[in-house]
């Protein structure tokens, strides 16, 4: 997969909001654009696609200049080799599913690309839907058709605006594998807008973090996740931690696998796609982490790891406090009551044990 560069230097002002981004983004595989709603993610994506005409500045993709206000250049959306998957899918309501796919494939052919309709139909599992009218599809079905349609446009850059938004967990779980393989099927880099940290963790290799119309950070997910506290930016989400762990052993008898993170071992129910020596991203809800000042006796919880207390965040108005725990350099956050915090006399730097009641694989929406 080629590593393309997206150079952004744009400013856009609205009545209640301004976007100012000056950033070089290295694109390979899936790059997440992450931030709370209203942070300008969608506006940025629309500017890249050429759907926002009000912006000033310069946008270039690889060697191609898409916008250069100083030189009076603005390449219209249909001449930028991008495909855009909208939050609401935006299938053409006057066409059936096949008509929607053909709309994209026909114009890709005219542009000298080689769309493979059969492969896209197979890749997104929409063979059964071809004769269905676009308006009769369920939310999950229409997203899959929209993704296939975007692939058939044979873009050089794929732009996805929260394609899982508004879907229930079952539908999300069904679509996620398709999104994972999207970069592969489209053969082009993907920019993926999301306000859901778990989605980002499951899909993206790098991340652009946005807040209030500005870019806060931009780089590989694991790196940014360690240096920047992404939790508070994840909208409406309960506090959670995201760590990367390496599969060291898969035991099919017990149905468990062992993973190594920060020099410690975690036990998790195994999944069919886990491979030894592979790195997986783990999601641990802060509410599922308890703290013991001494190593507890025999108990059902499997994952009990020595940890060092880091930052403690508590306020007089909330019943709960957040405690950062460092496990061999990996950050795990625990949510405990303020009552427990004062009774245990927890202090920064103290050695404790972290009891993790549940650890799940990122994006395994179960």
């Amino acid at each position: 997969m080629s590593a393309d560069r997206l150079s952004l230097d744009i400013a856009l002002t609205r009545k209640t909001f301004s976007l100012k981004v000056r950033e070089d983004v290295a694109l390979a595989g899936v790059t997440a654009v992450f931030g709370p709603s209203g942070s300008g993610k969608t506006t940025l994506l629309r500017a890249i696609a050429g759907l926002e005409t009000g912006g000033e500045g310069r946008i270039s993709f690889g060697e191609t200049v898409w916008q250069d206000s100083a030189a009076g250049v603005f390449v219209p959306a249909h001449k930028r080799a991008v495909a855009y998957v909208f939050q609401d899918a935006r299938l053409f309501s006057h066409l059936d599913v096949r008509g929607n796919l053909d709309f994209a494939a026909k114009r890709a052919l005219q542009a000298g690309r080689i769309p493979d309709t059969d492969a896209a139909i197979a890749a997104f599992g929409i063979g059964e839907l071809l004769e269905r009218h676009a308006v009769s599809l369920s939310g999950g079905e229409s997203r899959r058709v929209a993704l296939a349609r975007a692939v058939l446009s044979c873009p050089d850059l794929m732009l996805l605006d929260e394609p899982l938004n508004g879907l229930d967990r079952a539908a999300r779980r069904k679509i996620l594998p398709f999104l994972k393989s999207l970069a592969e099927h489209s053969g082009c880099p993907v920019l993926y807008v999301s306000h859901d940290l778990e989605e980002v963790a499951a899909l993206a290799s790098s991340i652009v973090v946005m807040e209030a119309g500005r870019v806060l950070a931009n780089g590989p997910v694991a790196e940014i996740g360690r240096s920047l506290d992404l939790g508070p930016l994840s909208e409406g989400a309960e506090p959670a931690s995201l760590i990367e762990a390496k599969v060291t052993r898969i035991d099919s008898d017990s149905g468990l696998m062992a993973l190594e993170a920060g020099g410690e071992t975690l036990l998790l129910p195994t999944v069919p796609w886990a491979r030894e020596a592979e790195k997986l991203r783990l999601f641990i809800d802060a509410r599922d982490v308890a703290i013991a000042v001494e190593r507890p006796g025999p108990m059902s919880i499997r994952n009990v790891l020595p940890a060092r207390v880091g930052r403690i965040v508590s306020s007089d108005t909330a019943a709960d406090a957040l405690v950062d725990l460092s496990i061999g350099g990996e950050l795990i956050r625990a949510q405990i009551t303020r009552h427990a915090l004062s009774e245990l006399h927890l202090e920064t730097g103290q050695e404790v044990f972290a009891l993790m009641k549940s650890v799940r694989l990122a994006g395994d929406f179960r």
């Binding site: 249909h78 001449k79 935006r90 005219q110 732009l159």
Partner: protein, 223 residues
């Protein structure tokens, strides 16, 4: 049995007017539906004027414009050799102006209902503006286009005042159905007046029922 000439003339006039207004109305309505120009309310007001003005006002100004000494009238004379006023062309010209809102307003509503979404989706799938209008906007506005054409056609058939002023009452050339009815009544030929009037009444009623049924089933489908 009354002479069927006026009926055929009315149908001919309505068909020509509808086709001309469709060609003018689609770009005008598209512009009105998408523009952010300050001029928009002015253009909308001009488009809606025929709805509120008495036909005599429009007819009066059109007569002045079509006079062979006026710019439009003289241009017509040098182009075709004949005078514009009191010709079939004058009727078409007047009808196109008088029925303009009946074409433009339903089209504009239909285009606005489709909105920017599908057009943007088309643009990101490599479709040029024209391509997107032709292959996305117009098909998605099909019911609105049909409504606009039916209303324009029916309204042109039903007009009287403007037609009388710019066309007069020349058999086979400008005597349309509404004028024929007027003349039958004036001449106390009530049987003929009844036949034509009842025919027009039934035609208009059926047309309107069709339009409302079309729009009703459309709303149901969308929701």
């Amino acid at each position: 049995m009354p002479d069927l000439g006026p009926v055929l003339l009315s149908l001919h006039l309505a068909a020509v007017t509808t086709v001309i207004l469709l060609v003018i109305g689609v770009p005008l309505a598209y512009w009105l539906a998408t523009t952010k120009a300050r001029l928009k309310p002015v253009v909308e007001a001009v488009t809606a004027l025929p709805l509120v003005l008495p036909p005599t006002v429009i007819g009066f100004y059109l007569l002045i414009l079509m006079n062979p000494s006026a710019p439009l009238g003289s241009a017509w004379v040098s182009l075709t050799g004949g005078t514009l006023s009191f010709s079939f062309a004058a009727l078409v010209f007047a009808s196109a102006i008088y029925s303009l809102p009946f074409m433009v307003q339903p089209l504009q509503s239909a285009f606005e209902a489709v909105g920017r979404g599908p057009m943007e989706a088309a643009a990101t799938l490599r479709a040029s503006r024209l391509d997107a209008v032709w292959n996305v906007l117009l098909p998605q506005s099909a019911r609105g286009i049909l409504t606009a054409c039916v209303l324009t056609f029916a309204h042109t058939i039903g007009e009287f005042g403007v037609v009388l002023m710019v066309g007069g009452n020349i058999p086979e050339r400008t005597r349309v159905i509404s004028i024929a009815i007027y003349e039958h009544v004036e001449s106390v030929e009530y049987t003929e007046a009844h036949i034509l009037s009842a025919g027009l009444l039934i035609f208009s009623f059926v047309t309107l029922v069709g339009v409302y049924a079309l729009n009703r089933s459309y709303r149901l489908r969308v929701s």
